[in-house]
């Protein structure tokens, strides 16, 4: 097992390298970060040329990638454009832990920006994922065990409705119902946007209250989809011979369902979850944007639309690394769930 893990980790190095090249080329080819710089007018030609030179954006793509990877503190830069290089670059490169300075927030490094937002995203996404997994399992199993009952039919109908609704619709509808109209009707209401009310402060109660609508929106759609998946897996497993054997041996229903049926039905589900978890780090772009949640999703989209390569590369490489690690963990969990799988 240890050799397997080491081998997989070593394989990840060239994989991440290739991913980084692909993302870098795509980003460099997608737009000009100096075209408007977030303003309502196009940037003055002289300023564009000056900033392009100072930020190294006038260099060929391959050289920009090399600087991103290993830094530019070994080359001299002509800052004042007098034809004579006058100072060494400041960047150390990703391999030395420097993802570079944000092109948008020029006083901050890419890692500083990511560090500011990552905790907020995890605060939102981890509870959401726990709720999604829990209710998906409960609803899916319940529905499978009462196949074609009235309850199953109701759950099935509800799931299809929930799964058909785009998340932005659920988010806005819930916001207007529970925040705008409830207040208008004199009912207890929820806040519309933000992670907490700045006038009150980041208290436990404030954050918890502000989490309700975003989590509800994300959960409704995801639970609807996942519970269908769990239901079909459970239906397949509970009709297997070994389940009948387990009942015949006199095991309790709880033991049969949790110890045998659910464990086997969970294997494909683990694959799905294994793919989901790394993307928790990336946040939920739509939910965070609508609810004004200061997470990674908004950071990503804000900086992607401004072609801020250092920040976007930082986020995507973080997610790529998480994907590699989570896939490895998923494989290890397979081995635990299914004794037939061996990595020796």
């Amino acid at each position: 097992m240890v050799r397997y893990i080491i081998r997989r980790l070593l394989q990840a190095i060239p994989l991440l390298f290739i991913i980084s090249i692909m993302i870098f080329i795509l980003l460099q080819s997608s737009g000009d970060p100096l075209a408007t710089m977030g303003g309502r007018r196009t940037t003055r030609p002289e300023d564009r040329a000056r900033l392009s030179r100072i930020m190294g954006l006038d260099q060929p793509i391959y050289l920009q990638y090399v600087y991103w990877l290993i830094g530019n503190d070994w080359v001299q830069i002509d800052v004042d454009n007098d034809g004579t290089p006058d100072t060494y670059g400041q960047r150390k490169g990703v391999l030395r832990g420097d993802f570079g300075n944000s092109l948008v927030n020029r006083g901050k490094t890419a890692l500083e920006l990511i560090n500011e937002r990552l905790p907020n995203t995890l605060v939102l996404m981890i509870p959401a994922e726990i709720i999604i997994l829990f209710f998906s399992l409960v609803v899916g199993i319940y529905s499978a065990l009462r196949q074609y009952s009235l309850t199953d039919q109701l759950i099935t109908t509800g799931s299809f409705i929930g799964f058909s609704m785009p998340i932005f619709f659920v988010a806005l509808a819930s916001m207007y119902i529970f925040a705008v109209n409830f207040r208008k009707w004199g009912l207890p209401y929820l806040p519309t946007v933000g992670m907490f009310d700045p006038k009150v402060g980041k208290t436990f109660g404030q954050v918890a209250t502000h989490m309700i609508l975003p989590i509800f929106s994300m959960s409704l759609v995801s639970i609807s989809g996942y519970s269908r998946f769990v239901r079909s897996q459970m239906l397949e497993v509970i009709s297997q011979d070994y389940i009948r054997t387990a009942y015949a041996k006199g095991l309790s229903e709880r033991m049969v369902l949790i110890g045998h049926a659910l464990k086997n039905a969970a294997i494909p589900f683990v694959t799905l979850v294994g793919i989901d978890i790394p993307f928790l780090l990336g946040g939920a772009v739509i939910t965070e944007t609508i609810f004004g949640w200061p997470g990674m999703g908004r950071l990503f989209i804000d900086h992607l639309t401004r072609y801020d390569t250092p920040v976007v590369m930082g986020i995507l490489m973080l997610i790529s690394l998480a994907v590699v690690i989570c896939q490895l963990l998923t494989d290890i969990v397979y081995g635990w769930l299914d004794p037939r799988i061996r990595y020796n």
């Binding site: 000009d32 003055r44 500011e116 065990l145 705008v180 980041k202």
Partner: protein, 566 residues
Amino acid sequence: MLNKKTTSKLLGLIIIASMLLAACGGGGNATVAPTGAPTGAPTQAPTEAPTSVVPAEEKIITIAWTQEPNSLNRSYSSMWYMSVLTDIYSCWPWNYDVANEPYPNLLTEMPTVSDDGLVVTMKLRDDITWSDGVPITSEDFVFTHEMITSTANTVDSAYPYDKFTISAPDAQTVVMTFEEVFTSWLSTLWQGALMPKHILQPVFDADGTIDQAEWNMAPTVGCGPFNFTTWESGSYLRFDRNENYWGPAPKLDAIVFQFVPDDAAQTAACLAGDADVCFWPPYEDIPAFRDAGLNVVTEPSGYNEGWFFNFRDMASPGIKDLVVRKAIAMGLNRQANTDLRLDVVKVTETFWDAMPSYVDPSITPWAYDPEAAKALLEENGYVDSDGDGIREDKDGNPLTITQGNTDKTERQNYQALAQQQMLAIGIDLQTFSYNSDILFGSFSDNGPAAIGDLDIMQWSDVPYFPDPDTSYWLCSDLPTADNPYGYNYFGCDETLDALFQQQVVTVDPEARQQIFWQISKYMHDNVYYLGIWEDGDVWIVNPRLTGVKFSGVTPFFNITDWDVTQ
């Protein structure tokens, strides 16, 4: 199967875990003003992070803000959403009132200009101070000029500070000497850009640049009516009353700018009362605001949405023909298209409609007349010879015109209407929309505007409002391989170029006005630009706020008069 007890336990555990995460996570990412005094501060107004419980009598308002600034140093940001914040925590030598007229703020009087127009002199008041009590002097202006023009600093734009030298004969006098006459100094200089020398000079001396200066992101020492206190990344900015403010004391205790990027969510926040002020809401939400009793305030900002016509060599033969451009102007039902935006916007004609004194009064707006447009095209040989509804020119080429804009929904909706109206007069309008950083990409990046891929381009723009100057149509700014960042995407007309070059060096206001009359008339008659709608500022204000006024140039110019009724 799980029994009820187990289910309850699991649910309870999840809720507790979520709450713990909520309580533990996310901390430590706010930039909060330090509570200690800055080095060398003679008198310090203590600034503290917001407390967790707010006394009821505190007057705090929340403004929903679509875009989060990328810096709070004006020189490091081109964002409109940042620039207008400088009214709050920074100070302008002169401000603009509700009629967009300038009046002295840091100055004893408006700056004086020498007869040759080359020297502009400012006289500072002697009672103005930074929020830490240090006097604001002419040295702060000299230092700011030095920082903006230094190649060691990656400021967004050195314009127009690279056009003059500066000196400080005494603590209250600032003298700016231009290399050549620069008429638009009043609307381009010192707009919230002033930097405190006593804070940033040590940083520059130590680092050789102020790019990484903490002050850029946390300007704890300012000169506006409010002090920066907190910047919670992605969440909000908070400014508390500057107790050392040299001007009239603000009536509010604090202002919170909460970042709400989604339009519909911003509308909800204002309707629910979570935000007291919203900006630029979707036009279709205006009736909902009015129904809810909220005030809708509009203010001309100088911006006009318009069609910019491309008459460069690579443009389609049709658009280079004045006849076709005139037919387009007559075939586009601008009034009907604009009426869809309710009563908060109006149709415009020229690039200078927000400054009517610079528009030739003899200009007759192009009236919607599709029959006249069709007749004009017909007379000039544009006929639909194959019966497909699209006219062909004399050589049999279909009259196909490309039109592009940024991917804003408002513009895409307008494209759809325009396409139908052009088809009605036999013009095939092919529409495209792009992210703004792609549309305005450089010539070397194959930006569609720069390489002339589009015959008509639509966006909202402004001269150096409230000055009429613009360099958009200068022949020297044509984008080419040798000038990849040039932004004259439209073409070189030597008559127009000469007029633009003449106005910028004309000191006499009346003579300059006459030149702009010629420019506006010439551009109108040649249909180089066609106004679409006035893109003024639209504010939604909760009626609990009193004393609220906006200016198109400096929106929060009277922020000290704002108050709330509890």
